[in-house]
């Protein structure tokens, strides 16, 4: 059957999903719904990123005394200047990619982002960053609530999770963000071919669309099937995307390349979720050149730079904002395993054509004196200075053009760093 644009607007997604091919105008609708065709790419560093080795306070003597094995030598940091308190800071030597972007004025680094009484649990911490409510780890996610707020018709590809896992941040009431790790695997298989396969696909779609609210759990599963049917062709269009740069050969870079491809193909996605793991560095972190943390940093820096350059070449940098977070930072003092245990505040970053680059917030003094106000937990951990929700508010208000108070359930604009 053919679905016209008018049918679609009249009948919504249900009518649309009866057709096989996704009409090209869907992306147009998605674009037209926003104030601007802006994308948000959320980058999650899974495991609790050791912010002090990402952004190194290389003139703080306590940094070296408390991290004898894993401190990045001052001579090797990539200097990027001083923050508002006059503290000199440098990036990890494997973050040359981020230094390049910083020097172009398109990387904003927010120091000591977090919240009071930071959870040291990965799972509770990730949920808190997801709900944007330290007192509620079970509600809807801030990105899910944002996607819920976009006027209908709901597009099942308005969000795109490039990881296989599900995150609370993406949990919405009406929107279910698809998890699509590899567009090449995203196709419909049948034991038959030709007309018989089409009969089968027709039947599958009709059966999946039949469960009503009286069978909510079945309807939930069926919705994911329907969204698969409704997005197959648009996602398929991303397969074989020819990027303008060569991406590094790892899962994080592959996900970013997929994101770039979907932007170039105009699939209409508003919010992307990309993650890279391994940040739970309890052991074998290494310092500058070697060890696990150096690998994490090059994965991050090289992948982001490739994506940044690709978008710039494709003319999409101005419509893209990357926001990076992690569930917590790590202890200041290293443990006996050349690693660090779970800590408190960490670092956030924003990257994109609309970003006002620079260093935001002030670095902690790492003096273990228990009265040091920039630390907590008897001088063990870095205290937060910038409420992470104020960064969310800035992104929602200033980038996505929505009302952050409505999405976040309160006004968190105070103290927001002027990153965009």
């Amino acid at each position: 059957m053919n679905v016209t644009r008018r049918d679609f607007i009249r009948d919504g997604v249900a009518a649309f999903t009866l057709s096989f091919a996704a009409p090209a105008f869907l992306a147009d609708i998605a674009r037209a719904q926003g104030v601007l065709s802006r994308n948000l790419v959320v980058i999650y560093l899974a495991g609790g990123n050791d912010a002090l080795n990402t952004l190194v306070p290389y003139t703080d003597p306590f940094y070296y005394s408390r991290r004898p094995a894993i401190a990045v030598p001052a001579g090797q940091v990539l200097q990027i200047g001083s923050d508002a308190s006059g503290k000199a800071l440098g990036l990890h030597p494997r973050l040359a990619g981020l230094q390049t972007i910083f020097n172009q004025g398109r990387l904003a680094i927010v120091q000591r982002a977090g919240y009071a009484n930071s959870s040291r649990s990965h799972f509770q911490g990730t949920d808190i960053w997801g709900t944007a409510d330290p007192n509620n780890t079970a509600g809807l996610g801030w990105l899910g609530r944002y996607l819920d707020s976009i006027p209908p018709p709901m597009d099942p590809l308005s969000g795109w999770n490039t990881s296989g896992a599900t995150y609370r941040a993406l949990t919405g009431l009406t929107v279910s963000v698809p998890s699509i790790t590899d567009p090449a695997n995203y196709s419909f298989a049948s034991p038959n071919t030709g007309a018989e396969a089409i009969n089968e696909r027709n039947s599958a779609i009709r059966i999946a669309s039949s469960a009503g609210p009286d069978r909510p759990h079945l309807a939930f599963v069926n919705t994911s099937a329907m969204e698969a049917f409704a997005t197959l062709d648009r996602v398929g269009s991303v397969v074989g995307y020819q990027s303008s740069v060569t991406y590094p050969n790892n899962g994080f870079a592959a996900a970013l390349k997929t994101v770039a491809g979907s932007m170039v193909k105009g699939v209409g996605t508003r919010v992307y979720w990309v993650q890279t793991g391994g940040f739970d560095t309890h052991s074998g972190q290494g310092n500058a050149g070697g060890g696990g943390y150096a690998t994490l940093m090059s994965t991050l820096g090289d992948g982001v730079l490739a994506f940044y350059n690709d978008l710039q070449n494709q003319g999409l940098l101005g419509s893209t904002l990357m926001v990076q977070f992690s569930e917590f930072g790590r202890r200041i003092s290293e443990n006996g395993s050349q690693g660090t245990d779970h800590g408190a505040a960490s670092v956030m970053m924003a990257i994109g054509g609309g970003v006002r680059g620079g260093l935001y917030g002030t670095a902690a003094s790492l003096d273990p004196n228990p009265s040091n106000p920039t630390l907590e937990n008897a001088g063990s951990d870095v205290s937060y200075e910038t409420d992470f929700r104020s960064v969310y508010a800035k992104v929602l208000d200033g980038w996505l053009g929505t009302d952050s108070s409505a999405i976040l359930g309160g006004n968190f604009r105070a103290g927001a760093p002027a990153i965009i």
Binding site: S121, F123, V177, N192, G336
Partner: protein, 486 residues
């Protein structure tokens, strides 16, 4: 396939991975309580499943050179899937999967630290197959329905766990909190029952719990292994104080000599395992696994399970017998009231659709796309369950796996219908729904399935038509939402 008794079918889906004809034969004529005992007292059935690997009447495996399930993780995954499909002790396998999710050890980190061969042995070496201790999954099977306290202590000494949560570098000079935290947050009573100072003290308790390396000729020598070693020289011998009682007494583990210091950890784990809050946390997880993940745990269930757990000295066999005979489990409202885990979906699809000439290796990549790679939970908390299994890509992977098995079993499926059944589309559907066991289709959904059989030309029941329609129908049923519940 269905037995004709919905309660027995429910038992097979929940306490096992579904039923094939041989499974139903094994419990034929039993009362329901006797069938529960059949599952729970699984030692009465032989543990011979691995000896069937490679036999013609069983699901296939794919060999790359030599089949090496103790030293190659892909082969270890194949062996586990084979066991799920063909075990004669389904509840043992089902609980091993439950504990795998509970302890959340991921192969990648282990192998990254000790290499692929020793790492696979740590995860999957079958007791007695190769030199060294049995792997983590063997431990989970051995203690599947043992005392939880014993399991907890064994897992704390398990080389895979010691590598995974960094026990090797937990020394008296620099205690390492990873295991000390997770053992409270995830393995026993959960958040809310301890504070940060307890985490520090717990880390000190386990200082010196380490490994001894027994190298082979090289890193790829299957004789290489590591085993548990308590190193008293690295144990913090001073007293450790908690905010809760240890072994029902004071809040302090006393100072001990280095030689006697391993008892600190045993005391600490014993206290955690014996605590009613651990019983409650396990009860809630068992509710979600065996009873329902659509409804929150009934408080009466949680208290009932906890009582059995405490009175039985943490014995999981008593707990499972209680659960499977309980009013909550047997309530028809809880039939098909749980979202199937990918491994369950895969094993059941194979068991019900057929396996002759199908290799479980074919299921490995689809399982990853569905979100469940065996031996590789996403983190120490295990997989996200329930609705979280049903991302769009994951559901597509399920539908496509159903298509893959249906395609592979095309002719077996086509020939499985009697002459009477294949005479009419509605009889074909009824026979298919006896073979596959989805939750109920509505009348209109059943009519859609019949419409599929009638689509493309008049019904004749010819071989040609059955060769197309039987696998197409099997794929529609196994790829339906109704089939994603157990």
């Amino acid at each position: 396939m269905r037995s004709g008794d919905a309660l027995l079918d429910h038992l097979f889906r929940r306490a096992g991975f579904g039923a094939n004809a041989a499974d139903l034969q094994a419990v034929a004529g039993m009362s329901y309580p006797a069938a529960v005992d059949y599952f729970v007292d699984f030692e009465k059935q032989p543990d011979d499943v691995d000896s069937k690997i490679g036999s013609p009447d069983y699901v296939s495996i794919t060999t790359r050179g030599q089949f090496s399930p103790n030293t190659n993780i892909e082969d270890a995954r194949q062996r586990w899937l084979f066991r799920m499909v063909h075990t004669r002790r389904p509840l043992q396998e089902k609980m091993a999967l439950f504990w795998h999710n509970h302890f959340g050890i991921g192969y990648s980190k282990v192998a990254g630290a000790v290499g692929a061969v020793v790492g696979t042995k740590m995860m999957a070496n079958k007791a007695g197959d190769l030199a060294g201790p049995q792997g983590h999954s063997g431990l989970l099977r051995q203690y599947a329905l043992g005392k939880f306290r014993d399991l907890l202590i064994e897992v704390a000494k398990d080389p895979a766990m010691i590598v995974f949560l960094d026990g090797r570098t937990n020394t008296k000079a620099k205690p390492q909190e990873n295991f000390g935290r997770e053992v409270m947050e995830l393995f026993t009573w959960g958040l809310g029952h301890y504070v940060e100072s307890d985490v520090y003290a717990a880390a000190r308790v386990f200082t010196g719990w380490n490994l001894r390396n027994v190298p082979g000729a090289n890193a790829n020598d299957p004789a290489s292994y590591q085993e548990f070693l308590y190193n008293g020289a690295q144990h913090d011998t001073t007293a450790k104080t908690f905010t809760f009682p240890i072994n029902g007494g004071a809040n302090t583990i006393p100072a001990r000599t280095a030689a006697a210091g391993m008892q600190d950890g045993i005391d600490f784990l014993t206290s955690l395992a014996n605590h009613p809050e651990t019983g409650r946390r396990l009860a809630r997880k068992l509710w979600n696994y065996f009873v329902s993940d659509l409804e929150v745990p009934d408080p009466a269930f949680v208290e009932g399970v906890t009582n059995v757990y405490i009175q039985g000295d943490t014995d999981m066999r008593a707990v499972l017998r209680y659960i499977l005979r309980s009013v909550w489990f047997t309530n028809t409202g809880n039939f098909n009231a749980r979202y199937a885990w990918p491994a369950e979906f895969v094993a059941r699809t194979i068991k019900e659709m057929g396996w002759t000439g199908f290799s479980v290796d074919t299921a490995r990549t689809p399982l990853t796309n569905m979100g469940q790679t065996l031996f590789e939970p996403p983190n120490v908390a295990g997989w996200q369950l329930g609705r979280a299994w049903f991302g769009t890509g994951a559901m597509l992977a399920r539908m496509n796996f159903a298509a893959s098995v249906a395609s592979n079993q095309k002719f077996n499926l086509a020939r499985s219908f009697s002459a009477t059944d294949r005479a009419q589309p509605d009889r074909v559907l009824n026979a298919m729904l006896q073979r596959l066991t989805p939750s109920a289709f509505s009348t209109s959904e059943s009519n859609e399935l019949i419409a599929y059989l009638n689509a493309g030309g008049p019904w004749t029941g010819s071989d040609t038509q059955m060769n197309a329609k039987a696998p197409g129908l099997a794929r529609l049923v196994a790829g339906s939402g109704q089939y994603q519940f157990v």
